[in-house]
Symmetry: C2
Subunit: 134 residues, 2 copies
């Protein structure tokens, strides 16, 4: 693959901005200092990079796709209130691939775990507003 400044910047942005950015986030983040950047280029490169295994695409119900620069084994928690995505390490999944291959004839390339719920901050806010009502 031919080098491009844009791709380098996009990869850097996903790696360094640990918010699991959307394509739009990456675009606006870079647009400030690189006014010629186009959204199409961002999409093209995010897809390229995730196909190449340089970044991960995270698919979340009722939300747009996000990208993750961390390629080590970890999983994701999504807050239903604020829509933020948090990382988590889980021990009990270490045997997952093993179990799948022994129980099915499916060739496993990868897997993702998406935990949905409410983050600490939002839970706190919800508790506060409950108090106000009662």
């Amino acid at each position: 693959m031919k080098y491009s400044k844009q791709r380098e910047l996009i990869l850097k942005t996903v790696r360094e901005n640990r918010v699991h950015p959307t394509a739009d986030y990456v675009y606006h983040f870079l647009k400030k200092d690189h006014p010629n950047l186009s959204l199409g280029t961002v999409y093209r490169n995010l897809n390229l990079l995730s196909e190449n295994g340089d970044i991960r695409k995270i698919c979340i119900p009722n939300a747009r796709d996000r990208f993750d620069g961390r390629m080590d084994r970890h999983y994701h928690m999504v807050c239903q209130e604020c829509a933020e995505v948090f990382d988590i390490e889980l021990n009990c999944l270490s045997k997952l691939e093993e179990e799948i291959s022994s129980r099915t004839d499916f060739t496993v390339h990868g897997y993702d775990v998406i935990i949905t719920g409410v983050c600490h901050t939002c839970q706190h806010k919800l508790n506060e507003s409950k108090k106000e009502v009662s």
Copy 2:
């Protein structure tokens, strides 16, 4: 919630068609016998039903959302070749919620595991075409 014939049909379709149908599938499936049905109604009801916990919405990278009428604990394998979705039961996830609550302050509502790879049929086809080349 007020009863509607359309909603009943849509729920029945998702429950009985174990292909993890997309909204479009449900629409065309029912349209045959119910020509007045509109796609908007299908979307509205699929979203309603999944919010109510009657069905599950499955979000798959690079594919449209699918719906699942099985509400018991199980997970999903997606074939990257044919895009079909298969169910799988996994034992090692039984302690997952426990581990998350003990390790984080995240309130877990649910989680989904999406395993990507290649199904048996497609793997076979891939092997065949390799043979042809060599």
